[in-house]
Point group: C2
Amino acid sequence: MEKINIMINGLPGNVAQKMVRFAIADDRFNLVPFSLTGQDIQDNTVTIDKIVIELVRPDSRDEKTRHIFSLFPFFICIDFTHPSAVNANALYYVQNKIPFVMGTTGGDRKQLEDLVKNGSVPAVIAPNMAKQIVGFQAMMEYAANTFPGLFKGYSLQVVESHQKGKADTSGTARAMVGYFNKLGIDFDADHIQMIRDPEVQEKEWGIPKEHLGGHGWHTYTLKAEDGSALFEFKHNINGRDIYVSGTFDAVLFLKQKLDKPDLSQKLYTMIDVLNGK
Amino acid sequence: MEKINIMINGLPGNVAQKMVRFAIADDRFNLVPFSLTGQDIQDNTVTIDKIVIELVRPDSRDEKTRHIFSLFPFFICIDFTHPSAVNANALYYVQNKIPFVMGTTGGDRKQLEDLVKNGSVPAVIAPNMAKQIVGFQAMMEYAANTFPGLFKGYSLQVVESHQKGKADTSGTARAMVGYFNKLGIDFDADHIQMIRDPEVQEKEWGIPKEHLGGHGWHTYTLKAEDGSALFEFKHNINGRDIYVSGTFDAVLFLKQKLDKPDLSQKLYTMIDVLNGK
């Protein structure tokens, strides 16, 4: 099979670095050695596994793009940049007709979606690239829509643990609370318990030391008022490897779409990638 | 609202007794003080909360039924009897045109379903009357059909705890394993771990002492090979109260169906009750 050229934007960010490292080791891909970065980044290059990748700041972006296209007439972008860059980057991809997979959260999502829908290149946009979590969310959404009120009278406890630096509540936990609400449970997302203390994480929760700096553990516990029933759902992610494989699956999905002559739909989510349709 | 006459069969069995106790206290129902029982039962009556219920053995069944119908022209049966009575009881209900809710497992299920489908009275038949568990199973089935292979490469551990007397593996756990297989996990239902030791149940699992004689705790743990992800699902039921409310919901559902002039479908499951359609 022909290798797919991919450009990974967001270096020198951690997630982008991890993506690059996996991409280099993955036979299905050919890394385009350039990466869009922020205007404030000082370095001109990043070297990963002996491969030198040139950082492209917004002010030299257009010029560099012509050069990249002369080397690689076709490539797909992977975007794990900064929330503040979401809309500008998407505009750049659409204007330059570069298909893209975007895992970056934040920005004006409505504007982002409209831009892609009205553009001429397809994109997979998802706030969570972990396929199994996306699948689990889809299950919960199905239940919420199919059996509203199923857990009426149950109480809910939500605890989530993430690395110390993460200030906001888990977006996944918030989305999940929405489904539980539909299932009949009265619960305010502000009551989600956030664990951010590495000592508690390691000693009480048993989160592996090497993942204290990057993890997402979630537990949802539902209890019947009379103590007759308890339901519990957990999804614990260590590190960020799981996001890499989901992202790469999204790239393969996009490539498949591009190989089809008719491509009326432009905007895809991870649910589409999971469905493979 | 008019009270619904219900006859609860399977006395003096534990589950039937519990159903009777709840029915007596429930304003929506009027208990028909008769109960089908096995030929080997010696007692002629059972007294529950000061209400005397006459036991009806197969050899006097037809005669007694005429008498019951003279007292109660319309009633719905609830069947929590014995696996060996499943098909004979169903035949009795259909021949006497008595709508019924059957929670009894075992018997020839295909024959049972065909009988109801070809009969003229509707029935709700379900091996599990706990609505939330049925809903959770439906979620898993949805995921298995929608995202086959989602958990490919994951390992599975299934542990279930039930009262000491239960010899076979949990049917719910077995059904769940079928869904996990479709989700890409190679796991044989024979590897389900069964906990039946009351000491282990109380000390290691924290199952309340008063529920050692009647509980169903299930834990399904999925792990990614590389340790990057863990998903866990639990459903722990203490006692049998949860089955009562599901059964009563099924009775109300049947009554609703009977009130409609056109009733082409005869056989319903708890999923239909949950959907309320």
